[in-house]
Subunit: 452 residues, 2 copies
Amino acid sequence: EEVEDVLEPPMRERSHIDATLRLNEETKSDDYSATLQRLKKIYHTAVRPLEQAYKYNELRQYEITDGEITSKPMVLFLGPWSVGKSTMINYLLELTDSAHQLYTGAEPTTSEFTVIMHGEKTRSVEGIVMAADSARSFSPLEKFGQNFLEKLVGIEIPHKLLERVSFVDTPGIIENRKQQERGYPFNDVCQWFIDRADLIFVVFDPTKLDVGLELEMLFRQLKGRESQIRIILNKADSLATQELMRVYGALFWSLAPLINVTEPPRVYVSSFWPYEYNPETHKDLFLKEEISLLEDLNQVIENRLENKIAFIRQHAIRVRIHALLVDRYLQTFKDKMTFFSDAELVFNEIVEDPDKFYIFKSILAKTNVSKFDLPNREAYGDFFGINPIASFKLLSQQCSYMGGCLLEKIERAITHELPVLLESIGSGKNPTFPSCDTTGCGEKPKNRYKKN
Amino acid sequence: EEVEDVLEPPMRERSHIDATLRLNEETKSDDYSATLQRLKKIYHTAVRPLEQAYKYNELRQYEITDGEITSKPMVLFLGPWSVGKSTMINYLLELTDSAHQLYTGAEPTTSEFTVIMHGEKTRSVEGIVMAADSARSFSPLEKFGQNFLEKLVGIEIPHKLLERVSFVDTPGIIENRKQQERGYPFNDVCQWFIDRADLIFVVFDPTKLDVGLELEMLFRQLKGRESQIRIILNKADSLATQELMRVYGALFWSLAPLINVTEPPRVYVSSFWPYEYNPETHKDLFLKEEISLLEDLNQVIENRLENKIAFIRQHAIRVRIHALLVDRYLQTFKDKMTFFSDAELVFNEIVEDPDKFYIFKSILAKTNVSKFDLPNREAYGDFFGINPIASFKLLSQQCSYMGGCLLEKIERAITHELPVLLESIGSGKNPTFPSCDTTGCGEKPKNRYKKN
């Protein structure tokens, strides 16, 4: 299969990729989809009803589609232009020099958000088609407008790795370019992908390391997702070792003020392309680093169910808190209203100073809620502006003879059903399955990167 | 000369040390001492008189002894305990396993400030002796007390490298130790050496990288001396390359908040001891890094005269500004005094709010003074508390028929004599002698590390 070409260096051996990612082992798709079906059921019976009853989506603009529950882990590639993001994807998916390779080059070549996913045969899918198909988990992207959908492309490829993960290639960041030139909200789109990515590769080219304003902006957007970030110092074999060390140090130096965590990020130093490394360089290190990165990727694949369950559970925790808050607003409103009161005046007073009525404090005190999970109070001003308080019912009235109470159902999902589901896959796999520390299933944010 | 010992690894070849440091070339000591004599003369005739007339030493506690003018460049070794500072000095000076080697070990072994300097034969000099000898440039250390002098040791060794530089070994920093346990002001002593060092090696051990409060304190003391700092990640061959890279990155990550400059510091990754590197490690890199560090050291040796002249010139600039300020205080005082005024009340008013009388502004406006070189105004409150304003004479009265005016003399030294002296050695050496950019001879601080 190797391409004979005098202009290009010989290809590297790539069996370590298949081995590390276990691409030749069959995935236990039965267990996998059974668990996802169960997860979908819990979501629809225990979380969704409360979400709808208290219009959670209007607060967070974060809706969970079935496509999102069943979707594969997403690996997002970010970074300046021409650092080798598309080249890396081509390499991992054996697309280099094929008819369907992502276009690469020394100038900014990727102007689209490109979702690379599994398909029976290679074909591309237009953005408007992807957004229309709710099973694909990209339907929420429609809100960024038709201009953006023209910059969204899907590519289906029958590669084994894509049975396990999807890749998202992004336009390289160009310093000193104006936002409006793009015709769509680039940063908002990035944020959407960042919020959903299971792994975020931020790629750099050591020969043109330039941390400017656009990149600073990007790292502001990455805040809170530090444990998903992996930095890649690509094309590492294009520098002599001493020079590479300087650049490697300078990269940490530049990133330290941008990533506000105590522990340094994991930086992989390697050259992610199919060709032999430059002979005069530290080839051993680069191969080891590539394998370490693949192991990291494999971890995300192995833990995809755990992560998905933890994700739904975290969402459920937020929905419950929201419901408790709206209930408290409503109860306070009802308590304050007399026959002669002006409903609007009374409620405005509550919304403008919720602390006066202990709205948030009471939630913290009465239930097992972490203060880190409370939404900010300003958001509720807007929320009740759109959704009149009178349109909601108290939690105590959200019960039915057959179905029980919505609050009890979501609490049971959080404390019992989802943990049991998590345990079931843990025991089926191996004894050292990730604890709540790593999947973040606890209510308190346990981010090991948190500054203390 | 190699030691045969089954317990220790074989010795490394060390010809690169002699070659890089040009230890086998004779130093042109005639030119060297002639220039220093000329510098001493300029200092004594043009700077010293003004210094004394306006008691500059009482403001800055910074007196320049003849010993300091003629002293060799000083290389200061700082860092946590047991990182290999003494081992590195033993290595560079071929003391390893000799009778006079610095004591090294896995526990904190260096409890003294050890000055290693040239001598005709190997012998040690006690701290009280060093402090008493004004030709040695360490006499100002007496002010740190007798307890400290017991912790100050000199070692004279007839090594060629010590004809060019002196080394200062320091007690390793121990986190969580109380200042008073030492019995002398450790930080003040460190600061004294830091202020005078031509090169500051901050050494780290990659197997126990721990940046704690004591080290944070150290880097606060290093502020303003960023261009003298070189970080050394020592014992680099005790880790596998991937692990070393992690530690190397973590070091930059930890130092970034402590060193407030845009450019990362130069970090040398190597293993500074006489034995062969661990065979499984990146030996090429370590040797290259060692040579780079030696080149750095050689630069300091080559530029020692330039640096010394620049140092005296900077001092002269400060003395001149001080004299101008005292003169202005005095002039303002005289202008405000009437026959009926209370001298103390009048002067207190000036000292308490010098801006009201444009003391500092007038200095900036009338003469070619950079605002970065102005001392802080609070210091003058204390200064005039000890030195009554009436004890000074106006600058216009500091003139004599034969000697001219003190102000004119120092200004001539700053603008003419010292630059000419600098040029004379530059032309004698090679055409690319360091410009004012690197020696800092300009009045504006041109620190390339400055955050902008």
